[in-house]
C-alpha cells in the first residue's frame, strides 16, 4: 500500500509559483528524504502534505484517502520542526499529552503511550520538566516524542537536526534510523546534510525551484544522476565538471568526474596547479586550478603531502565519468 501519493500538486503564494506539478509516492514504511538548495520549496511541500498550507491544485492522498480538505490533526501525520516548537508553558509530559487529549484518547492510553515514547527516547527522567529546563538535544527528543505518541501513519521531519552540534547530530541520526526500524511508519525527512540524506534514505527526492529533478535510492542518484544538477548536488565534495573538448570529447559538452575517481600522478589527460589542500585525516582533498576558470578537486584516501603551487597531472577512470549536454541533460558517453 502507498502511504502518500501526491499527484500534480502545485502551490503558489500570490503570483509566485513555489511548487510546480509535484508527483510523488511514498510506500509504506519507506524513508524518503527531500534535498535541494535553500528556497526550493522543501518546507512548503512538507507543510502542504501536513495540511498547514492549502495546495493550489492537485490531490494529496494519505493512506488511500484524499485529504485535501482534511485538517492537519486528522490526517494521521505528525511533524517535527527545526525549531522544536515545544509548548513553553507545558511540561515534557504535557507537551506529549496535549495532542492525544485533544483527540479524546482515554487517560490510561495516553499514559501508556507517553511512557513508551519516553522509554524509547530515554526521556523518563525529564517528564516533569519544562522545555526551558532542557538542553537542545533533549528538546529535540521531546519534539520527536510528541510526534511518536500520535502513532501517525506518516512522520514529517523538517531539518530536525540542524540546530544540534556535530556529535549530537550523529547520535540523533542513528536514533532516528532506529526509530524508523522499530515503528515501521513512513517518514519524510527534509535536510541540507549530505550524510543524513545518504545514510537515512530509502529514497531521495531532489527538488529544484519547486520541481522534482530526480527520485531514486541514494546510490542510484550517486552513480546515475539524471542531469548535471543532481550530479552536482549529491556527493561531497561535489563532482568536478570539465569542458569535454579538453580531453577529446564533443565540443560544448561537459564531463563530470567525481573527486574520488580521479588520481594525482605524473601522467594523465588534465594538468594544473595545486591551489589548496584540505587535510581531513582520513582523506585529503586537493584543489587544482586547471586554467580557463576551471577548478578540479581530487579526493585522495589517507594522508597525502603536497604543497600549494605544485604542478600536477590528473588521471581518472574513464569508465566512471558522466557526460552532460550544454543544457545539463545527461548524454551517453
Amino acid at each position: 500500500m502507498t502511504a502518500l501519493t501526491l499527484s500534480n500538486v502545485c502551490k503558489s503564494f500570490g503570483p509566485v509559483d513555489v511548487l510546480k506539478n509535484i508527483d510523488l509516492t511514498v510506500e509504506d514504511s519507506e524513508f524518503v528524504v527531500f534535498v535541494g538548495p535553500s528556497g526550493c520549496g522543501k518546507s512548503t511541500l512538507l507543510r502542504v502534505i501536513a495540511g498547514l498550507e492549502e495546495a493550489t491544485s492537485g490531490s494529496i492522498d494519505i493512506g488511500g484517502q484524499v485529504v485535501n480538505t482534511v485538517p492537519p490533526a486528522k490526517r494521521g501525520i505528525a511533524m517535527v520542526f527545526q525549531s522544536y516548537a515545544l509548548y513553553p508553558h507545558l511540561t515534557v509530559h504535557g507537551n506529549m499529552a496535549l495532542g492525544l487529549k485533544q483527540a479524546g484518547h482515554p487517560r490510561d492510553e495516553i499514559e501508556r503511550r507517553i511512557a513508551e515514547a519516553a522509554r524509547m527516547l530515554s526521556l523518563e527522567a525529564y517528564l516533569s520538566r519544562r522545555p526551558s529546563e532542557l538542553s537542545g538535544g533533549q528538546r529535540q527528543r521531546v519534539a520527536i516524542g510528541r510526534a511518536i505518541v500520535r502513532k501517525p501513519k506518516l512522520f514529517l521531519f523538517d531539518e530536525p537536526l540542524s540546530n544540534l552540534d556535530a556529535a549530537l547530530r550523529m547520535n540523533t541520526r542513528i536514533e532516528i534510523a532506529n526509530l524508523h526500524r522499530q515503528l515501521t511508519a513512513s517518514m519524510i525527512y527534509v535536510t541540507h546534510d549530505q550524510t543524513e540524506a545518504m545514510t537515512l534514505a530509502d529514497k531521495i527526492v531532489v527538488l529544484r525551484d519547486g520541481r522534482v529533478e530526480q527520485v531514486g535510492s541514494p546510490l542510484e542518484l550517486y552513480n546515475n544522476p539524471a542531469n548535471r544538477f543532481v550530479a552536482e548536488f549529491i556527493g561531497s565534495p561535489a563532482m568536478n565538471f570539465v569542458d569535454a573538448d579538453r580531453v577529446g570529447g564533443p565540443v560544448g559538452a561537459t564531463l563530470g568526474i567525481r573527486p574520488e575517481h580521479a588520481r594525482i600522478g605524473d601522467t594523465g589527460p588534465l594538468s594544473g596547479q595545486v591551489m589548496h589542500v584540505e587535510k581531513l585525516g582520513s582523506d585529503t582533498n586537493v584543489m587544482i586550478d586547471l586554467g580557463r576558470d576551471s577548478r578540479f578537486t581530487v579526493r585522495v584516501f589517507g594522508q597525502y603531502e603536497i604543497d600549494p603551487g605544485a604542478e600536477v597531472r590528473i588521471d581518472y577512470d574513464t569508465a566512471r565519468t558522466l557526460l552532460f549536454s550544454t543544457e545539463g541533460a545527461r548524454i551517453a558517453s
Binding site: 501536513a50 485538517p71 492537519p72 520542526f81 515545544l86 513553553p88 495532542g99 537542545g136
Partner: protein
C-alpha cells in the same frame, strides 16, 4: 554577568544615577503627599517642610470625604479604566492576531486603516461622538466612556501587538494545529502568553491617559452618579479660589489605584516565559 558589571565602582555609579533619577521623579509626588497632610497656611508658608504637630491637618481629606460621593467617583474611574483596558487588550490582541497570522484580501489595507487612528486624535470627533451617544441613549453612562476609550486605545494596541505577534514562531502555532488545537486555543493558550510583555506595555500606555482624562467625562458623563475621579476633583479648583488642601488630598488618593494597576502590569513586563519555546 560580565566583569565590568561586577566592578564595585561601576555598580556604585550606576545605582547612584538610578537613585538620583528616582528622587527627581518622585519629588513632586512627595511634595503633594506631605502637603496634603498640612493646614492651608502651612502649605503656603513652607511648601517643602514635613508636617509637624503644628501644621498637621486632615482638613483636606475631610473636605474631600464630605464633598460629593468620593468613593463613587473612585469606583467609576476604576470601572472605566479596567473595563477599557480589558476591551483594548482583548480586541486589540484579536485584531493583531488576525492581521499577523492570516493572509486575506485587504490585510495590509486593514492594518493601515487601523494604524491611522494613532495619528488622528479622537477628540476631533467629539461632536459626532456626543451625537452618537445621545442617539443611542448612552450619555451619562459609564459605557459611553468605556466605548470611547476602547476606540481610542485600539489603534496603538493593534499596531504594537501585531508587530509582536509576527515574531511568535510559526512552527509553534503549526505544532498546535497538528495537535488539533482550535485557532482560539492557539490564540489564547500559545500566542497570548508569549506576547504578555507587549500586552503589559500596551496596558500601561493606555491606563494613565484614561485615568486622568477630563475631556470625555465632562462631555459624555457629567452626571453625579457617573463622575470620574478627575472630574469630581474639579469642584475644588475654582476660578478665584482653589481649595488646595482638598485638591492635594484628592490627588494623593488618586495615585493609589493607578499604582496598584501599574505594579500588576509591570510584573508581567518582567516575567518572561518564552525561553525554551523555540531553539
Amino acid at each position: 554577568m560580565n566583569k565590568a558589571r561586577r566592578n564595585p565602582a561601576n555598580t556604585l555609579a550606576m545605582h547612584g544615577a538610578l537613585i538620583l533619577y528616582t528622587c527627581i521623579a518622585l519629588f513632586p509626588v512627595f511634595v503633594i503627599l506631605i502637603n496634603s497632610f498640612k493646614t492651608r497656611k502651612a502649605i503656603f508658608r513652607e511648601p517643602l517642610a514635613l508636617p509637624d504637630a503644628d501644621s498637621f491637618s486632615m482638613i483636606g481629606y475631610q473636605t474631600v470625604m464630605k464633598q460629593g460621593d468620593f468613593f463613587l467617583y473612585f469606583q467609576n474611574s476604576m470601572i472605566v479604566t479596567v473595563a477599557s483596558l480589558f476591551f483594548v487588550l482583548m480586541f486589540g490582541a484579536m485584531a493583531a492576531f488576525a492581521l499577523s497570522e492570516y493572509r486575506f484580501r485587504g490585510n495590509t489595507l486593514m492594518g493601515l486603516y487601523l494604524a491611522l487612528g494613532i495619528m488622528i486624535p479622537i477628540r476631533i470627533g467629539t461632536v459626532a461622538i456626543l451625537e452618537l451617544m445621545v442617539a443611542s441613549g448612552l450619555v451619562n453612562t459609564l459605557w459611553a466612556l468605556i466605548l470611547v476609550y476602547t476606540a481610542q486605545g485600539l489603534p496603538l494596541a493593534v499596531f504594537i501587538l501585531s508587530e509582536f505577534m509576527r515574531q511568535v514562531s510559526d512552527d509553534l502555532k503549526n505544532a498546535g494545529r497538528i495537535d488539533g488545537l482550535s485557532e482560539y486555543t492557539i490564540f489564547f493558550r500559545l500566542v497570548l502568553p508569549l506576547v504578555r510583555p507587549a500586552m503589559a506595555t500596551v496596558a500601561v500606555f493606555n491606563m494613565i491617559p484614561i485615568w486622568n482624562d477630563l475631556w470625555f467625562p465632562l462631555i459624555l458623563a457629567p452626571a453625579e452618579e457617573t463622575k470620574t475621579l478627575t472630574l469630581g476633583s474639579q469642584v475644588f479648583i475654582g476660578q478665584f479660589v482653589t481649595d488646595w488642601n482638598a485638591v492635594l488630598s484628592a490627588l494623593s488618593m488618586a495615585i493609589l489605584p493607578v499604582m496598584v494597576l501599574y505594579v500588576i502590569f509591570s510584573r508581567q513586563l518582567i516575567r518572561g516565559i518564552t525561553s525554551g519555546a523555540v531553539k
